[in-house]
């Protein structure tokens, strides 16, 4: 899970994953690993989620944490256009680093849709599988995991 600082990556998964590690791991070593089991067809897929510390002006995404990933979740805050730009930038860097990998774009904070800054046209322009989620309401999160697992299984 990658995205700009403060887009709600950790909040997004907090209620939906199994975790044994404290969230302080994120601020100390920059990553926290969670687990999410989803069922795709008749198969159970275990997703090991590397929740990476958000990138901002000071902290750069650790590329070493992306090594070996099977897929990724780009998270942006619908209320912050810059977070979407960052997601686009990160997608490009990851693609350069790891080649084409399955991924989904998550636009978080759908419960505040009336305040969204990210334009629908900009999203459609990318042509990525996109999910609108609300960490607060819990909507769209399971669908997003299910879709990613499906793409990984393809």
């Amino acid at each position: 899970m990658v995205g700009q600082f403060g887009v709600g990556k950790t909040s997004l998964v907090r209620r939906f994953v199994d975790s044994i590690f404290d969230e302080r791991y994120l601020s100390t070593i920059g990553v926290k690993i969670d687990r999410k089991d989803v069922t795709v067809g008749s198969a159970t897929v275990t997703l090991m989620l590397w929740d990476l510390a958000g990138e901002d002006d000071l902290a750069q995404l650790k590329v070493s944490h992306l090594r070996g990933a099977s897929g990724y979740i780009l998270v942006a805050d619908g209320c912050r256009a810059t977070s979407f730009d960052k997601a686009v930038e990160l997608q490009q860097r990851i693609a350069d680093q790891l080649g084409p990998l399955p991924f989904v774009l998550v636009l978080n904070k759908s419960d505040l849709r009336d305040r969204w800054e990210v334009r629908a046209a900009a999203i459609a322009e990318q042509g990525w599988p996109t999910f609108e989620t609300s960490a607060k309401a819990g909507s769209g999160v399971n669908e997003m995991f299910l879709a990613l697992a499906g793409k990984l299984m393809e």
Partner: protein, 531 residues
């Protein structure tokens, strides 16, 4: 003007050849060129060289196809062998960055192990436990250091994780049966990922790109990590992990890397190819616990093994304490004898079960046997004394007193038949005897003694018994009175008739009877040894 064709000799094949040239001319040239390329080995090699690299790259993308690798393997091995034979330095230079680092690491690890072992050996060197280990080393003929390592490092490998290095995903996980009170095994998949993340974090942040995190310690738990090209082996160890454990882990991981190289290269989430690695991982669940408690059935053997020597030891200890105590008493006794006047010790020693004392002893000195304390039995001491005269003043005075006493008791006054009067020729003896008695009294007084002198009258067989009894008393009283007259204290002189217990004088001749008519002296009332 005639053409060339006109000049060529006509032949039935010519039209066919011309036709062939018209129809196939350009292709024939190409075929000819192709034939020459195929027939010419050098040109063919040039062609292959142009596409070889790309062909190998394309083939290597097909992971499941191992034919190319198998075909190249013997060639590469032979090429390496030839390279080493012809110019070993080139390969050595190429491998040095890898081997040099590995060798340094191995030496460091070995030194750490030695230091750890040495440190613990020193700590244990002078303990009862170390004595037990030395006995075990002696009885099993194993080096002492090996016994120390085997018995002193208490640890237990509780969990082993085989982790795919590239993805951080868990390939296999084994755990030892959890003892009562042990920590619960948490989600191994997440632990595996987090270990990889921490490894990345440390490498990126602290150690530099080429280093690996080898151990992590938290409380009494230590995580021991071994690294291969495609996998990581991590063991959670409770207690003090011996340095050799890292080597065990590394050997197991190397073996897995060799056997599962293909599966590791092509790993995409399916861990089933690594199920067969579980026995190897379980072999890493090592531990060195406390020594097992003896079985209940071995009490007899234990009693024989430990009880008998203990009893012997106790008996020896008791005997030693008793001997030391007796020796001390004998020594104290010898010191007491040395302080006794008139005794000089020349030699003391233990002779078997007896204590031997030799020396010089004045006959007037105290009897050593009487000085023996009740705690020292008489039959356990053997004395050997040589007589001598001590110059201790008390003994000198004592001897003088005895001498005076002997001299006095040899004196006697003679009397005429039937007479109690001191004959005139005997009177000259009075002063001499008187002075002797006074000297005797003075010598006794100096020694704190009181003496009395009996003056005994004696008679010959002539006359009646009654007459002779009166006569003998009169003779004694006359001598006493004469001596008192000369200054001898009257209280010290007692006049007595003849002692009835004394043998009666039976002399027949006058010369013999003369000796029976006398007054003699006997010293009594002395307190021998009084101060």
């Amino acid at each position: 003007m005639p053409t060339d064709a006109d000049q060529r000799p006509s032949s039935p094949e010519e039209p066919l050849a011309e036709l062939r040239a018209i129809l196939l001319g350009p292709d024939r040239a190409a075929w000819e060129s192709m034939r020459q390329r195929l027939d010419n080995p050098s040109r063919r090699a040039e062609d292959v060289a142009g596409v070889l690299a790309e062909a190998v790259r394309l083939r290597s993308r097909v992971h499941s196809d191992v034919k190319l690798r198998r075909a190249l393997q013997p060639l590469l091995e032979e090429a390496l062998q030839l390279s080493v034979q012809s110019n070993p330095r080139m390969l050595a230079d190429a491998l040095f960055p890898i081997f040099g680092k590995a060798i340094r690491k191995a030496i460091t690890s070995e030194l750490d192990g030695m230091l750890q072992s040495l440190s613990q050996t020193l700590e244990q060197s002078f303990s009862w436990r170390s004595l037990r280990w030395r006995w075990e080393s002696f009885s099993t003929r194993k080096p002492y250091a090996e016994i120390v390592v085997l018995r002193s490092l208490l640890y237990r490998v509780e969990q082993v994780f085989l982790i795919h290095r590239n993805t951080g995903l868990l390939l296999q996980h084994v755990a030892a049966p959890a003892p009562e009170g042990a920590a619960e095994t948490k989600d191994p998949e997440m632990v595996s990922g987090m270990l990889t993340a921490i490894q990345d974090f440390v490498r990126d942040s602290v150690s530099g790109a080429d280093s690996n995190l080898e151990t992590v310690r938290m409380g009494d738990i230590e995580v021991v990590l071994a690294y291969g090209p495609d996998a990581i082996l991590a063991g959670f160890v409770r207690g003090v992990a011996p340095r050799k454990l890292s080597r065990v882990f590394q050997d197991v991981l190397d073996s897995i890397e060799r056997k599962k190289a293909e599966a590791l290269h092509t790993f995409s989430g399916d861990t089933s190819p690594f199920d067969s690695c579980r026995p190897q991982l379980q072999a890493c669940l090592l531990g060195q616990g406390k020594l097992e408690k003896p079985k209940s059935g071995s009490w007899g053997a234990r009693a024989l093994l430990f009880g008998l020597p203990s009893l012997l030891l106790l008996a020896l200890l008791g005997w030693w304490i008793y001997s030391a105590s007796m020796q001390r008493r004998w020594t104290d006794f010898a010191h007491r004898l040395e302080g006794e006047p008139g005794i000089l010790l020349t030699h003391t020693e233990n002779r078997g079960s007896k204590f031997y004392i030799a020396g010089l002893r004045d006959p007037l000195a105290a009897d050593p046997v009487s000085l023996l304390p009740a705690s020292l039995p008489r039959d356990k001491v053997e004395f050997h004394w040589e007589d001598y005269h001590s110059l201790v003043p008390r003994f000198v005075a004592q001897r003088r007193l005895t001498e005076l006493q002997d001299q006095l008791q040899k004196r006697a006054f003679r009397f005429a038949t039937g007479s109690a009067a001191i004959p005139p020729e005997q009177r000259f003896l009075l002063e001499d005897v008187g002075s002797q008695i006074i000297s005797l009294i003075q010598a006794a007084t100096a020694l704190g003694q009181t003496v009395q002198i009996e003056v005994r009258g004696n008679h010959d067989p002539v006359g009646t018994e009654q007459f002779n009894a009166v006569l003998s008393r009169s003779r004694a009283e006359n001598v006493r009175a004469a001596l008192v007259t000369l200054g001898v204290p009257a209280a010290r002189l007692i006049a007595l008739p003849e002692d009835l217990d004394k043998e009666t004088c039976s002399a027949v001749r006058e010369e013999e009877r003369m000796f029976c008519r006398s007054a003699s002296f006997r010293v009594t009332g002395r307190v021998i040894g009084a101060q």
